[in-house]
Symmetry: C2
Subunit: 319 residues, 2 copies
């Protein structure tokens, strides 16, 4: 492990790649690795891109990365693809993308599927963000399909979240249903060379004007096209403006601190669960209680309270 | 509360409706209510219907309900609509549906949004299933949009899960990506009066033949049309066959017991978290630890382990 960490700290990309694999697989060393990384984190600015499949997130991210590279900022990209365990594997497209950036040391792309992320997609993605942050990238970009709780959870790690829409039937409505409207700091109406782009941009703007309070950040709506390059500079500028807003209003630092606090509680909860599950391995009291509930001799709440007391006491004694 | 329970036990629908509201709002009484209900649960057969928005789940469920009503089975329906808190409220369509069944005492429909389900959509939905089960419905049907972890979690409460597909571009592919293919016991290709239904049915069948092991249940693929009524009887029959399979192979009862065990552990974990969060209210040690992490004076894992020990000890003492 020390060898790996040395390579990582020396800025070797292969060290980063191997470390991420260990995090994904929840290798026994992953906790120690995260502990080692922790003090190096907090430098990178994290941007999330979310939107329906086919919204063109990848192409849009590639364009934004170009503007960042022109400013000599280094970028780590995490493409989250909740691929089914039924099919497994990352999409071919991502491999092509990786080749495109292969010669640029300032860009690192990692595709993630649910396969191998034992701790849950959101937890693993957050850990990978930390690894990229600690590695020294100025920016970390996360790309996810904007559906489901796991994706929403992932987005909570982003400082700025870009919701990508496209002209098309019901797209705005679906976005609202999926609950990602609330997490948008910037809206990008992609493929604005297609008909209907003005309409959807206007719809979103009206919705925002109805909902946003005067003193709050009002997400800008930017029309972009990866084909013509229209709006890419404006999108990059909108992200920058949001960052400045968060910094000037003193929102960024407290928010990040709050996230770390929450995450620590998550870890504690996870550890507590592991403790309970370990007790299940033994023909212990917890197991007996669960059997009682399964046989309907006891209700789940009564059993839960007993488990709570039991694990607590057992632990208090061994301490 | 006793008054409410009396009405509920007497089979008054209004008692059921009010009880569900208390569960949804996590009213202080909800735990006691669930404890009271527990011994009455385990009778209803639970079927889940999941599929993309616009797949026609509601119409399909209505048709299936008709066949069940013809057999004099009573049905409770839970329509889960993860509406954004941005917009709130249930869809008009569900209200129309409720009016349609308003005169039939054997059918009860409840629409659920994320609004008001404080304990998480999956937890609340499971609680509502229990309420309907305890109320005495022969069948409980859950309808959800098939995207995201919360929806997958909800489906884990179903004995038989029907995945609803429609002829249309990329539908099958999207279904696979969302990870709901694995939870399907029956496939319904809805709107089979539209072109492309044969194609998607064949695609799914090929995929199933590749993946399914010989000794396992091979999900049937049924083409249905709510317009012409085609396939509805076959669909109802396929659900029945799956139930018989689960019962004959002695899968149903052990699976239900395992679910109750898991749920009990979930409750215990939830209670443990509440305990930790309660300690946060005080200017206590847990809070100090979290602040240390936020100031980067300590890493999250070290703090988590201390919290674990602290909550445990503190509790051990007060016991």
């Amino acid at each position: 492990m020390q060898d790996l960490l040395d390579k990582f700290k020396a800025g070797e990309t292969r060290g980063l790649a191997r470390l991420i694999t260990l995090l994904e697989n929840e290798d026994p060393s992953h906790e120690k690795l995260l502990q080692e990384l922790f003090h190096r984190t907090g430098r990178a600015y994290v941007t999330g891109f979310t939107g329906s499949p086919g919204a063109g997130k990848s192409s849009l991210v590639d364009q934004v990365v170009k503007t960042l590279r022109a400013e000599e900022q280094t970028v780590g990209i995490i493409a989250v693809d909740p691929t089914s365990p039924f099919t497994g594997g990352a999409l071919l497209g991502d491999r092509i993308r990786m080749q495109e950036h292969a010669l640029d040391k300032g860009v690192f792309i990692r595709s993630m599927g649910t396969r191998g992320s034992l701790g849950g997609l959101a937890k693993t993605t957050k850990d990978v963000v930390k690894a990229m942050d600690a590695f020294g990238f100025d920016r970390v970009i996360i790309e996810t399909v904007g559906v489901g709780q796991a994706e929403l959870d992932i987005m909570h790690v982003a400082d700025t979240t870009v919701v990508v829409l496209t002209p098309g039937a019901g797209d705005a409505i679906q976005t609202i249903k999926a609950g990602i409207m609330e997490i948008a700091d910037v809206f990008a109406v992609n493929k604005c060379d297609l008909p209907g782009a003005d309409k959807i941009a206007a719809e979103v703007a009206i919705m925002l004007d109805q909902q946003c309070q005067h003193d709050k950040w009002r997400p800008p709506v930017v029309q972009v096209s990866c084909l013509t390059g229209q709006g890419i500079a404006e999108l990059a500028e909108a992200i920058k403006k949001h960052r400045v807003h968060l910094e000037e209003k003193n929102i960024l630092a407290p928010r990040r601190r709050e996230r770390i606090r929450k995450e620590t509680l998550e870890i504690a909860t996870h550890k507590w669960r592991q403790k309970v599950f370990n007790q299940l391995e033994l023909p212990g009291r917890v197991n007996e209680l669960l059997d009682k509930v399964a046989r309907k001799e006891m209700d789940p709440y009564a059993a839960a309270y007993e488990i709570l007391g039991h694990v607590t006491t057992a632990d208090g004694r061994t301490k």
